[in-house]
Each structure stands twice: as C-alpha cells, then as structure tokens.
C-alpha cells in the first residue's frame, strides 16, 4: 500500500539525519517538537494529533506508522538493553534508504527538511529525560 505523507516525511528525515533513533518514546517526542516548530512549513505535520500524558505528548497515529514502516521493511528495529529495560532503536533498512533517497531527491522543500533532520539528530543525542521535558513543556505551553 502507498505510504502516506507523514510516513514519507519520516523516511526523508531519517535519511538526512543518518542516525539511529533511540526508542519509541524519543521518536514520539521528536515528532511532537518537529510538529510544533515546522507544521506551518511542512503541512503534513498538521494532520498529526497528539495528546498530552504524564510522559509527554503521544500520537497513536505515529505509533502505528512506525509499525507499518517496520513491517514494510523500510525501517529496522533492534532491541537494545538499556540499564534496566529494553528499548527499540530505529534505523533505515537498505530498502528504506533507497526509498528515502528517491523521496528526498524529488523533494522541493529540501532546505526545511535538512533543518528538521539536524533537529532530529540534535534531539536524538540528548538524554531522553531532557527531550521528554522539552516536549512536555512545549505541549503545556501549546495548551495540549
């Protein structure tokens, strides 16, 4: 089945960011932060709806999209033990990389996509708690 616009965006971002996303929670918070900062320029982000929880903003649609991308062989998820729990890390597969490259090169908003990818990389490097709190504070400010 055809990828939707947000799934295509996710692939493009991971292609340019060229990093392994550290966990479902990190991914959710990154997507929320990107939505709050870029949705006026990247319209497909507007369709994402989040709800605020104790652990920050969360979107069921984003969760389902990640699963679809894994099942379609475009993302690989690896289990990593982290201190006292298990986490999935997400990285583009070979097939995903090819698809993402094709999508990126036909993209006419590359400047914005590049800026978003830098943001993804920057946030992904931070400790998870810091990213959760950042997303949480933005969500509270946005009245979520």
């Amino acid at each position: 089945m055809e990828l939707n616009e947000v799934e295509k965006l996710i692939l493009k971002l991971l292609y340019k960011a060229d990093c392994k996303i550290k966990g479902n929670t990190m991914f959710q918070k990154i997507m929320y932060i990107l939505k709050s900062e870029y949705q006026d320029r990247i319209h497909e982000l507007k369709s994402l709806q989040f709800k605020l929880h104790y652990y920050g903003p969360f979107s069921r649609d984003v969760e389902n999209m990640l699963i679809r991308l894994v099942l379609r062989g475009l993302l690989i998820r690896e289990v990593e033990p982290v201190i006292d729990y298990l986490r999935y890390n997400y990285i583009l597969s070979e097939k995903g990389r090819e698809k993402a490259k094709e999508l990126y090169h036909s993209e006419n908003r590359r400047e914005v996509i590049d800026a978003m990818a830098n943001k993804v990389r920057e946030l992904n490097e931070k400790p998870l708690q810091e990213v959760i709190f950042k997303a949480y504070r933005i969500a509270e400010r946005n009245g979520l």
């Binding site: 994402l48 104790y54 999935y88």
Partner: protein, 515 residues
C-alpha cells in the same frame, strides 16, 4: 456513497437534543430527597438529590435500553445489564477514588483540594461518559469507524487521535444547550458552579494543569470506567476472572506532579491491585468481548448498517438517538427482516476458517516463526495483508468476489463475512513495545515515579503476550449453508487468498463444527 460531514453530525446531535427537550425540559427537573439504590457490584449506594435529578434526564434514561455488552448475551445468557447501571457504577467508583485522594493528599505532596464543583464535575462525567453510545454498544460502532466519522470529529475539535466514536459523541452531546441548561439548573439549586464544557473535557481526559488528575479518574488506562465494567461484566457473564479489590484499588491511587500539571498515579503499594485488574482484563477480552460469537454478530450488524447506508435506506446518524429495540425495529422496517431474525433468534453465521499467523505458511515455513526471526520478506507480507484488509472497501470487494467465485446459489450479499482485527499479523511483542503513555505512573515509596512494567513482570507478561497470540481472522458463512456448498466456499476463499498473497493456509486454519 453519501459522505457524512461534521455539519451532518452536529445537525443529528441537535435533533436528538430537540427530542430530549420534548421529553423533559431542564426547567421540569425535580430534586427528590436523597435515597439509596442497591447495585450488585457496589452494594448499597447513596444518591443525593443532585444524583437523582441527573439520572432522570433523557440521555441517561436512554441508557436503560442500551445493552452494555451488545450480543454477548447470545453466549452468556445473564449478560443483560445495561449502560445505565454501568454509568451509575462509574460515578460511584469515581467518588470513591476522589474521597481516597482527598484524604491521602491532605498530608502527602502534592497537596490537593477537591472542591464540591470538582467532585460533581467528575461524577457527572461518570454519568454522561456513555450517552454517546450506540445501540448494542460496540456492536454498532464499527460502521462509524469505517466511515471515518470519529477521525472527522477529532480533527474538527483538535482532540487527539485516540478516541472511539462513542466517546466523541458523548463529548458532543455533553456540550449541547440541553446539558448546559441542566447543569445551570443544578448549579442554581445547589450552589454549585458547573460547566458543561468542563464536564465534556473530563469525559475525554482533557482537563489541564493542576486538575488533570480529575479527568484521569474518568479517562485513563486505569480509570473508574474500566474498574466498573470489568467487575460488572464479570458478574453478569459469570466469567470468574479473579478478585479485584476495589476498595484497596481506590485507595492505591495517588497524584503526581509533572511541571505545571498534576496527574493520576498509582502508589507502589497498590501494584498488586492493579495487576489483578490487568489480569481480569486479560481473561475478559478473549472469553467475552472478543468471543467469536460476539464478533460474528457484530460483523453481521455492521454489514447490514453498511448496506443500509450505501443504498441510502437509512441515515446512519439515526443510530445516535436509537436504543437496541428501536434499531432492530428500524432495520426491520427498511427491509432487512432476515438479518433481524438471524440476530434475534441466534441464527448467526458459522465459522469455516479461524486463521492465526501460525496457520499461514510462507516460503515453506510458518509466518509466526519467520516473524520471530525478523525475516524481512515475512514482515513485508504481514504489512501487505494488514494494509489490504485495513481498507473496508477492499474487504467488502474481497467478500463479494468469494461469494461470486464459490458459485453457491444460496450465498447472497452478507452471507459470507471476514472479521479481521486491525494489525492482524504483528511482530512478537517484547517489553520494548510497551508505551509509557499507556500506563499510569507508579509513585515509588522512596520518592519519584517509575514505569509500571519495570515493577511488575505480571503486567509485562500480560501486555506482551495476549494480543499477539490471540489475534485471529474469522471467516464465517450463513448457518443455512451446509455440506458440499460449504466446501465450495472454503475452496473459493482458500484459492483466492493463497494466490493473492502467495501463501498457504495450513489445515489448522480450517474450522469444522462438532455436530
């Protein structure tokens, strides 16, 4: 097919509101003296004049005629309880939780004060949280999901993507002028300051800031709704699912502060009570809610409603104002008496296939085994199958084609159904799949909070195993089809699905009734 717009929905809600006014105007609401009712789950339960006044309103009285469990009484004959007593139960449980929180947080940080207005906002949310339920409860809800109505409402009001259609209808109905007038009358009479918008936000778990925890009591993953329905449904079906200590559970709730918001949490000492609740749910889901007979009956009703909408014999939004009996009468009236008889007299479709991921062979090996090895082609297949059947139009077309291919004269439209859960084939779940946002935070004895699954291997086990292992597709046909005709239908289905996805159905997928 006619597309339903948000304007259509608002118009339908307004028509229902007009009906409420015609039955009982808010000005006519009476405040009887306090009394008690007896409930099989909660025992003797005090009701104040405010409770009685609220319970008299038409949207709540309608719930007396909406079965809590839809068609489950075809399996468990005792399951005839209704949304009405469940709503009373939710308000009762919510009150217990608030009493426990008030007492606890007089001394424990963060200090909270649950004012009279707060108590009544939450209780009223408990009462009205299900007024948007449709006839046969979840039995007729699927058609609204198919038509994307829930998503339209969510988007229009910017509510988030995690609500079922009935929750959104309850939200819209609570925001009507009628409910506003009812709450104004109650407020004036009883020196309160109630706000219908606030009640509506509470139903969806959307209060903000320092009052967030109040809406968590009504809408979160361990809320008054779940506590009441698990206990109630277990009682009326007779399914023994272990003891849930409701008093200990209510006293185990606490609140936790995060930045400027206060959230509902669970104290570490209450973990066992929460585990009992999860364990109950784990038993109830496959044996009651997703029992194959219930799934089949719901699928039969969904298709009937779909055909009625497709052929413009009925406006699907009529369901918002109907109860179980009225819906049966309505679909009888528009020419579906055969389906009505099948549903009423338990002449339900019978299974011919029950397909789990382990019943499908791909590249010479079972799909579930391939997925556990992270086989990329098997994952692609899973994605393809899930995506294909997630489209209602594709599913309907698939059913029609099998009916045609089987060449069985007695098999008409609706005579074959395929009930397939969303994300039917999924990867084996591990602890890493557990989403923190799906659980209340646990407040530790030594301070701070923790994810619940880090403290409870029982919850990890329940949450990671059950959905994956029990997910199955049911293929069922009209119960009048027998013998060689059944074989023709089986052959048509098997050939079509095998060629479509390049798979093989193993003998374990075939279902033969014991007669």
């Amino acid at each position: 097919m006619k597309e339903i717009t948000v304007n259509d929905i608002n118009k339908a809600v307004k028509e229902i509101q007009d009906k409420w006014y015609s039955i009982l105007s808010p000005n006519e609401i009476e405040f009887r003296k306090p009394g008690r009712i007896r409930d099989p789950i909660h025992g003797y339960h005090k009701l104040s004049k405010i409770d009685f006044a609220l319970l008299d309103i038409p949207p709540l009285q309608r719930l007396r005629y909406i079965s809590q469990l839809g068609f489950v009484n075809k399996i468990y004959p005792g399951a005839n309880h209704t949304r009405f007593e469940h709503s009373i139960g939710v308000a009762a449980v919510a009150e217990r939780i608030m009493n426990a929180l008030s007492e606890k947080h007089q001394k424990m940080e963060p200090r909270i004060e649950i004012k009279r207005d707060d108590v009544w906002t939450v209780k009223i949310a408990g009462y009205v949280h299900d007024i948007g339920h449709l006839p046969f409860s979840h039995g007729s809800e699927k058609i609204f999901e198919v038509l994307g109505i829930g998503k339209k409402i969510s988007k229009e009001f910017n509510l988030g993507d995690d609500y079922k259609p009935h929750e959104l209808f309850s939200y819209l109905m609570t925001k009507t002028e009628y409910i506003k007038e009812v709450l104004k009358k109650v407020s004036d009479k009883c020196e309160l300051n109630l706000d219908a918008e606030r009640v509506a936000e509470t139903i969806l778990g959307r209060l903000k800031g320092e009052k967030r925890y109040l809406s968590d009591i009504i809408h979160s993953h361990t809320d008054a709704d779940r506590i009441d329905y698990l206990l109630r449904d277990g009682y009326y079906t007779g399914v023994p699912h272990g003891h849930v200590d409701i008093e200990h559970l209510a006293r185990s709730f606490c609140v936790v502060k995060q930045n400027r918001s206060i959230w509902l949490g669970i104290e570490e000492r209450g973990l066992e009570a929460v585990e009992a609740l999860y364990s109950s749910r784990d038993v109830m889901y496959p044996t009651v809610y997703f029992h194959h007979t219930n799934r089949i009956a719901e699928a039969m009703l969904t298709r009937t409603l779909y055909y009625a909408h497709r052929d413009e014999k009925m406006d699907i939004l009529e369901l918002l104002g109907l109860n179980d009996a009225e819906l049966i009468a309505r679909i009888n009236e528009i020419g579906y008496e055969e389906v009505v008889n099948k549903l009423l007299y338990r002449r339900l479709h019978k299974r011919i296939f029950v397909i789990r991921p382990r019943d499908i062979e791909y590249k010479g090996e079972r799909v579930d085994k391939l997925l556990s090895k992270n086989d990329s082609e098997a994952m692609d297949l899973a994605g393809e199958i899930n995506d294909f059947f997630s489209s209602w139009d594709q599913l309907m077309k698939f059913e029609e084609e099998i009916i045609s291919d089987s060449n069985v004269n007695e098999l008409n439209e609706g005579g074959l159904l395929i009930d397939i859960p969303s994300n039917f084939i999924t990867l084996p779940k591990t602890e890493a799949d557990l989403i923190p946002e799906d659980y209340l935070p646990v407040r530790l004895r030594q301070g701070g909070t923790e994810y619940i699954w880090k403290l409870s291997p029982i919850i990890v086990g329940i949450e990671t195993r059950s959905k994956y292992l029990r997910s199955n597709v049911i293929v069922a046909t009209d119960c009048s089809i027998k013998g060689s005709n059944l074989d023709k239908i089986r052959k048509a289905f098997k050939e079509k699905i095998e060629s479509m996805f390049q798979i093989k159905l193993l003998p374990s997928a075939f279902f033969k009734r014991n007669l």
